[in-house]
């Protein structure tokens, strides 16, 4: 298969950046999207040109590093999958593919298609954990947890923090990410203890970092490679409202 690629090139975070056009030829339909970019990069290196920078790590859909906005959709045209798991058979032979970095004030471009997503780390640091005092490892199942709740919590925990929700949201809102992280703890007894403090701290951090406001367009759910549900956002709103209204006077 042959493709014409229009790729965002930007030398560093300060540079202006622009689109450049590249051609790739004889790509196998079973080639993954990142492998196709590897082939292009090999080619560029052979020609003593700068390769294209893009983020990736596991290439098996679990780390959340890959982050390409392809033809108007984060992670490309396939549903419920990261771009590293997406194959070239999803495109028409000879078609033009536009590749852009995630665009958001909170995710500045580092180079080409690579963005700085440490804003997500800061949100996690604000409350996305359970404080534990050290001691012996507790026995499994010593705290009874309803299966449905455990399942919902696991579904929320499937979030790999890739940032596709922010990338696709017309408001560049991080609500789906934050709500998944709030939910995975709030649903379990171990996480409930700090739930009130957690939701307020994480929402405050999210706002501070310049993410937009959610207006329930649900684009995030449609594009999430892990199919995280917007019901998590509703849960976060409930948790937040409860925490604010129920707070005792200091």
């Amino acid at each position: 298969m042959d493709f014409t690629l229009k790729i965002w090139k930007q030398a560093n975070s300060k540079a202006k950046g622009k689109f450049e056009t590249f051609k790739v030829k004889d790509i196998s339909a079973d080639c993954s999207f990142l492998e196709m970019l590897d082939i292009l990069n090999e080619d560029l290196i052979d020609k003593v040109q700068l390769p294209i920078n893009f983020d990736h790590d596991c290439r098996e859909g679990i780390c959340g590093m890959c982050s390409l906005y392809i033809n108007g959709r984060p992670h490309g045209p396939d549903q419920g999958i990261t771009v590293c798991q997406m194959h070239m058979r999803n495109f028409k032979n000879g078609s033009k593919i536009v590749i852009e970095p995630w665009r958001s004030k909170a995710f500045p471009v580092i180079k080409d298609l690579m963005v700085d997503r440490s804003a997500f780390d800061e949100i996690i640091q604000a409350g996305g954990y359970v404080s534990v005092t050290t001691g012996g490892v507790p026995d499994a199942n010593s705290i009874p947890i309803r299966k449905e709740l455990a399942d919902l919590s696991m579904d929320a925990a499937a979030c790999i923090g890739c940032g596709a929700c922010v990338a696709t949201c017309k408001n560049a809102s991080a609500m789906l990410f934050v709500s998944a992280k709030v939910s995975q703890f709030a649903l379990l007894p171990q996480g409930k203890v700090e739930a009130k403090r957690r939701v307020q701290a994480m929402v405050a951090k999210m706002d501070e970092l310049g993410f937009g406001n959610c207006t329930n367009t649900y684009a995030c759910e449609a594009e999430c490679p892990k199919n995280i549900s917007v019901s998590n956002i509703a849960r976060m709103n409930r948790e937040f409202l409860g925490a604010k209204l129920g707070a005792q006077k200091a």
């Binding site: 108007g72 959709r73 852009e100 665009r103 696709t168 405050a204 999210m206 509703a234 937040f240 409202l241």
Partner: protein
């Protein structure tokens, strides 16, 4: 308030938006009910008595003030949200997203602004006319009532007025279509069983309100 509205958390803002929105959603139903009196009573008596009651009852007077407050807060918060959201993506995409998502949700600010302009015109045409303009009176059961029904019917005989009115109400319907279910989601009311029901209700509500308001001028114009 405007300075603190900027510092409210994103979740607080959406909760305020939804509460004010739900309030306006209920108001529209009341408004529609009163307007429909015009259809069922050609003497305009029912409508004029109802309109007079709405405008003078002391409890409703308080509601009127809260209604204005509701509108203003909803509009103000909507604008603040939108500006912050634009700022959250300083560099736009070359290929704008076309995710499979609720269509009308993407144009809430646009439909909202059209509705705001319509609202101002609407207040000038009817509300302020009643308050400050001269409206002919009508005697019903020995009491004098301002004949608002006549004002409405006169307006509804102007073709250009009706066309603008209908377009504005169709756009209002689009706005409401997303607004209804969105308000529940913002309040955290999301449920596998009830959310589909709320979405269906929202569709029905938006169609009923838009069509309901549109039928009245069409009926008056053609009959």
């Amino acid at each position: 308030m405007s300075s603190s509205a900027l510092t409210f958390s994103s979740v607080t803002k959406k909760i305020v938006m939804s509460l004010m929105g739900l309030f306006l959603i209920i108001f529209l139903l009341v408004h529609l009910t009163v307007n429909l009196f015009l259809l069922f009573d050609p003497t305009r008596e029912l409508f004029n008595v109802a309109a007079h009651f709405m405008a003078t009852n002391p409890v409703l007077k308080i509601m009127e003030i809260s209604l204005f407050a509701g509108f203003i807060i909803h509009i103000l918060f909507g604008l603040i949200l939108q500006i912050q959201n634009w700022l959250a993506r300083p560099k736009r995409y070359k290929v704008e997203g076309y995710s499979h998502t609720s269509f009308f949700s993407k144009f809430m600010i646009h439909t909202g602004i059209v509705i705001l302009i319509f609202l101002v015109l609407h207040l000038l045409d009817f509300y302020f006319k009643l308050k400050f303009g001269d409206v002919p009176n009508m005697i019903i059961h020995g009491h004098e009532y301002p004949d608002m029904g006549l004002v409405v019917i006169e307006k509804f005989s102007i073709t250009s007025f009706i066309i603008i009115y209908i377009i504005a109400l169709i756009i209002l319907g689009f706005h409401l279509h997303h607004a209804f279910q969105s308000a529940f989601q913002s309040l955290g009311l999301n449920h596998t069983k009830y959310t589909p029901v709320i979405k269906a209700l929202g569709t029905i509500y938006s169609i009923v309100v838009a069509l309901g308001f549109i039928i009245i001028p069409l009926y008056i114009y053609f009959y």
